[in-house]
């Protein structure tokens, strides 16, 4: 078995979980994305990509 496995100490496991986040962050940032690439819609692979809003219902103040 690997000697590097974490112990079951809750404090140590919290550190391990945070280390995993840091490692993920570094791995993601090492793989750049072109500026014109958007996230995929969460609404399935075949849904309309940009449903047109109803101009009458357009309002400001939302994210």
């Amino acid at each position: 078995m690997s000697d590097e496995r974490p112990s079951d100490d809750p404090e140590r496991l919290r550190e391990v979980a945070k280390e995993a986040l840091t490692a993920n962050r570094a791995a993601l940032r090492a793989r750049p994305v072109p500026i014109d690439v958007e996230p995929p819609t969460i609404f399935g692979v075949e849904q309309p990509r940009r449903p047109m809003p109803d101009p009458a219902s357009r309002h400001s103040g939302t994210a």
Binding site: M1, S2, R5, P6, D8, P10, L13, R14, V16, A17, K18, A20, L21, A23, N24, R25, A27, L28, R29, A30, R31, V33, V37, E38, P39, P40, I42, F43, G44, V45, E46, Q47
Partner: protein, 489 residues
């Protein structure tokens, strides 16, 4: 302790396939009520042996069985599932039993609704006999031990000292042990494929958006899929046909349906299929106990497929970081009340608790970066599928691990961590990569490792290629017997 594989005979009801059971019901060899009663008896008597059952639903099963027995509709109007019992992962809501999500904080949760998949199976005449055990919260915080479940560690029907896999532990173990002929599981990243491979059953992960998740616990809105596990690919297709389709209650559904290919079309598709494969998947990454059986399975598969050629999935993506960041961030939002309110402390697995807490610190920037990489990954997969029809690789590189060992303790050679040792990745990261791209996959047994435990392969195709995946594995299963092997019970 390892069970000796025995080939399941066609007369054996316990390990019968859906068509075999449907035939027996049509011949009135027994009634749906008798079958439901026998199934519930078996689940009650043996479910605990595998920690596979969250709740036996005898009352509901008998009610649905009686309805099937009374039905005067022609067989083909209700389909092949009429009167046939099944179990559903306990992440799906079903009237008549708690929906525990495998987690102590939800042990008494009553959701007075049926998940859409369960409702659709009910409409097809199927009989819900049990809620099946799972890893708590489908493993959303990243768990360390197989014991991370309200129902205890999922025990493998082939060896009770080995893990059944997760997070759809009970769904695979119950089918593998012959407690139910099929089940519903779910996959965010590997939760159908891993237990199917470890338990020697066939599992199908549908394209994202093919099956409604309404009534299912959400771990990741953009990754979760509901899919069947059964003895054969044909049975997985039968169940998928019943549960697939649009659902207003789940805006992620595509509206597409699934129909298996007709026999002629299936034979033609199999003959002409272009299979992509990377030799290093087995040669470099398989654990010693699994290598020969996996290699033999690949060779067998090559005999039924049209052409096999070298092809590899898109490279250069941090798949683990992507999938961990996506379900971590989405899970942090989904389980925010549990974490912020302290209920998280009641979970079983310490690593799971730590992971859920830590996920609160994932930055929006990193989540969106991972999501944008998914866009690129989908495009790159589309290019791969211009050249081939499906990718073939191992289901898992090793057999099921010991049930009492931490999952981060890997014995030497037990499936390498590819990036760490500099070996070419081949197609070994297809589980996270396929999930990130929303692609369908089918997992199927191909033999046994030297330790007597099942090993299996997987096929991954482009979105909505399930008819081809089912046709290919059905063709493989028509000329092999691995899927008919079952443990001594």
């Amino acid at each position: 302790m390892t069970a000796t594989p025995v080939e399941s005979g066609k007369s054996e009801i316990r390990f019968a396939t859906i068509p075999e059971l449907a035939g027996a019901l049509r011949r009135r060899a027994f009634s749906a009520r008798e079958l439901a009663t026998a199934t519930c008896d078996l689940l009650e008597a043996e479910g605990g042996r595998y920690n596979a059952v969250a709740a036996v639903m005898r009352k509901r099963a008998l009610r649905e069985a009686d309805r099937a027995d009374r039905s005067s509709a022609p067989e083909d109007s209700e389909g092949p599932l009429r009167g046939i019992p099944y179990g559903a992962k306990d992440l799906l809501a079903a009237r008549g039993a708690p929906t525990t999500w495998g987690a102590p904080p939800y042990r008494d949760q009553m959701l007075n609704d049926d998940a859409t998949a369960i409702r659709r199976l009910g409409r097809a005449g199927a009989v819900l006999a049990a809620k099946l055990a799972m890893v708590e919260l489908a493993g959303g915080g990243s768990y360390r031990y197989p014991s991370a479940s309200l129902q205890g560690p999922g025990r493998n029907p082939w060896d009770l000292d080995r893990w059944s896999g997760g997070s759809s532990s009970g769904s695979a173990a119950a089918v593998g042990a012959g407690l139910v002929p099929y089940s519903l599981g779910s996959e965010t990243s590997g939760s159908i494929g891993t237990p199917a491979a470890f338990c020697g059953v066939t599992g199908l992960r549908p394209t994202y958006g093919l099956v409604s998740r309404h009534g299912a616990m959400a771990l990741s809105w953009t990754l979760d899929k509901i899919g069947p596990m059964a003895h054969t690919a044909e049975d997985c297709g039968t169940v998928l046909a019943a549960v697939a389709g649009g659902d207003r209650a789940d805006p992620s559904t595509s509206g597409r349906r699934f129909r298996p290919l007709a026999p002629d079309a299936s034979a033609d598709a199999t003959r002409h299929a272009r299979i992509g494969y990377a030799e290093e998947d087995v040669a470099e990454h398989a654990a010693p106990e699994a290598r020969n059986a996996l290699a033999a399975g690949v060779e067998e598969f090559g005999r039924i497929a049209g052409t096999m050629r070298r092809a590899t999935m898109p490279e250069g993506y941090p798949f683990g970081a992507m999938v961990g960041t996506v379900f971590g961030a989405e899970g942090a939002s989904i389980f925010s009340e549990l974490v912020d309110g302290g209920g998280v402390d009641a979970l079983v697995d310490e690593r799971q608790k730590a992971g859920l807490r830590a996920a609160n610190e994932i930055l929006a920037r990193d989540y969106l970066h991972a999501m944008r990489l998914r866009t690129l990954l989908q495009r790159d997969f589309a290019k791969v599928f211009d050249e081939i029809d499906v990718l073939l690789t191992v289901g898992r590189t090793s057999t099921a691990p010991q049930i009492d060992k931490p999952l981060d303790a890997r014995p030497p050679g037990a499936g390498s961590t590819p990036a760490a040792d500099g070996k070419p990745l081949g197609n070994t990261p297809l589980i996270p990569a396929g999930n990130l791209a929303g692609l369908p996959a089918i997992f199927f047994p191909c033999g046994f490792g030297t330790d007597g435990l099942p090993v299996g392969l997987q096929l991954v195709g482009p979105p909505f290629s399930e008819p081809l995946l089912v046709a290919l594995v059905s063709a493989y299963q028509a000329v092999t017997h691995h899927h008919r092997m079952r443990p001594v019970v």
